[in-house]
């Protein structure tokens, strides 16, 4: 069974979002990293890049495949996890902490309300199996 921390929010694209004021920290879920397999490369945007909701902001590559990652919220990138350049495997081993990808200053904090709760994400995973 996938690990789905209670305190986070989720998207249907299998990202997790930690909200702190108007800053959202974004990564991919345990379910997503498991489906991908061994992550070997993470391509991330630059600080200052601006994205609308549901835009491709980067990609995660496993040995076999490339998956795009989409912004669950609109806003401006304020920080990028450079640690993933040297340790992309953190996305597999520790998707919710060391495997975080970007922090964004949200353009519209109200958007966060539309994200899934842990319980709703779990339901969504069950339904899509």
């Amino acid at each position: 069974m996938s690990n789905i921390p209670e305190n986070l929010r989720y998207s249907k694209d299998h990202e997790w979002i930690a909200i702190d004021g108007d800053v959202a920290t974004i990564g991919i879920t345990d379910y997503a990293q498991h489906s991908l397999g061994d992550v070997v490369y993470v391509d991330l945007p630059r600080v200052g890049d601006k994205f609308d909701t549901h835009e491709s902001f980067g990609s995660v590559e496993s040995v076999k495949a490339v998956s795009e990652i989409f912004t669950p919220l609109g806003g401006e990138v304020t920080e990028v996890n450079d640690g993933l350049n040297d340790a992309p495997e953190s996305v597999n081993g520790d998707p919710y902490t060391a495997g975080w990808m970007i922090k964004m200053k949200m353009a519209n904090s109200g958007e966060a309300d539309a994200l899934l709760s842990a319980a709703e994400y779990e339901e969504y995973l069950k339904a899509s199996e």
Partner: protein, 372 residues
């Protein structure tokens, strides 16, 4: 293709019970990886030993007084050079010299040859071979694929491990040679060949013994221990063969790709006499190829994938046929068709990775060569 239509090897249930992630591979339901994952599986095969179910490969018997002559006429390598107990790598070519498939040709006797072909192309190959076969060839052809399972055991520990299960003296069999013998009491063909760049064997047997043999290999190989054997899925099989720069049908090889373009001139024996595609190949050899397979490694971050365009001096000049991270070499590598002028080691190229042109350099192949 729906799940019910997929073909299954005799080890299908075993793969599932080992946590294999199953995918459709050329119409076969096969494990792309097991629980350990592709990187672990790849590394274990390089450093200890890996186990592969390759029962989906096709086996075609050619028997009779005309066997050698017939196979010599439909393949590029020189079958008359084989001795009993020896195998060689070869290609089936069409009239234009394009590769219908790559294959192994085993000589069991003067009148008995075994062709081992790719899984997804077995039916196509057999139809192709049949269409060029007549009574005048004085030999029979039989698609015997359903009568064999094939398990590959590969890696530095592979020979010693297999030796525990057979009385055949494995060290007396050279690379690309084989012997008939028993493995764990089961009649088998033991072939010192493989698709990983490691030493090892490919074992052919009756499919009804596949599970017995597989489980015996896991047991003797101490599966579950840190330095024990690991079953390897198709993903590891692919990265292992790519590090060793071995070609894969549908990528480096195909009906519109000739052996000369794919660096397989060494198994194209124009001097042996006529064979299908010989004239086209002789002309191409004379005129020179316009594209050639080359290995490259990425300089800038990014992973080249199959189908990505290659640029030199801002001009599109080729295409990636296989590209992947190389788990043992810890580099991002690939193979691509390029104009011959750009295939010298050190040539800088760019790979179009989803719109971003990332620098790469042509390097000698194989990328990985085992220490003997």
């Amino acid at each position: 293709m729906s799940d019910t239509e997929l073909k299954r090897t005799p080890l299908n249930d075993v793969h599932r019970s080992l946590g294999g992630k199953m995918v459709d591979f050329g119409g076969w339901d096969m494990p792309v990886q097991y629980k350990a994952g592709v990187i672990e599986e790849h590394l274990r095969c390089r450093t200890r030993v890996g186990l592969f179910d390759v029962s989906h490969m096709g086996e075609i018997w050619v028997k009779g007084p005309g066997a050698v002559g017939f196979v010599n006429r439909i393949t590029t390598n020189d079958v008359t050079k084989l001795v009993d107990g020896q195998a060689h790598y070869s290609t089936l070519t069409n009239d234009k010299g394009g590769i219908v498939d790559d294959l192994l040709v085993y000589r069991f006797g003067e009148e008995k040859l075994l062709l081992v072909v790719n899984a997804g192309t077995t039916d196509k190959d057999f139809a192709w071979i049949s269409s060029h076969h007549s009574d005048a060839d004085n030999c029979s052809i039989e698609n015997a694929s359903a009568r064999y399972c094939q398990i590959a055991i590969q890696g530095p520990d592979a020979v010693a491990l297999l030796q525990k299960l057979t009385e055949t003296d494995l060290n007396s069999i050279s690379y690309y040679h084989f012997s008939e013998g028993k493995v764990d009491g089961v009649d088998a063909i033991l072939s010192r060949t493989g698709y990983t760049g490691e030493d090892g064997y490919e074992v052919y047997a009756d499919p009804k013994f596949a599970i017995q043999l597989w489980n015996k290999f896991l047991e003797v190989g101490r599966f579950g221990e840190d330095d024990g054997i690991l079953p390897c899925g198709l993903a590891a099989r692919n990265t292992l063969r790519l590090e060793s720069a071995m070609s894969l049908y549908g990528h480096e090889l195909g009906d519109d790709i000739t052996p000369y373009e794919a660096n397989l001139g060494w198994i194209t024996k124009l001097a042996k006499g006529d064979f299908i595609g010989r004239q086209a190949l002789a002309e191409q050899k004379e005129a020179g190829v316009t594209r050639k397979l080359a290995g490259f490694e990425m300089i800038e971050p990014g992973i080249a994938r199959d189908g990505f365009d290659v640029y030199v001096n801002d001009e599109k000049c080729g295409v990636v046929t296989s590209g992947s991270p190389a788990p043992f070499l810890k580099k991002n590598i690939g193979l691509a068709f390029l104009p011959p002028a750009f295939t010298t080691a050190g040539q800088e190229i760019k790979i179009d990775i989803r719109g971003r042109k990332a620098a790469a350099v042509v390097v000698p192949t194989p990328f990985y060569k085992r220490q003997k």
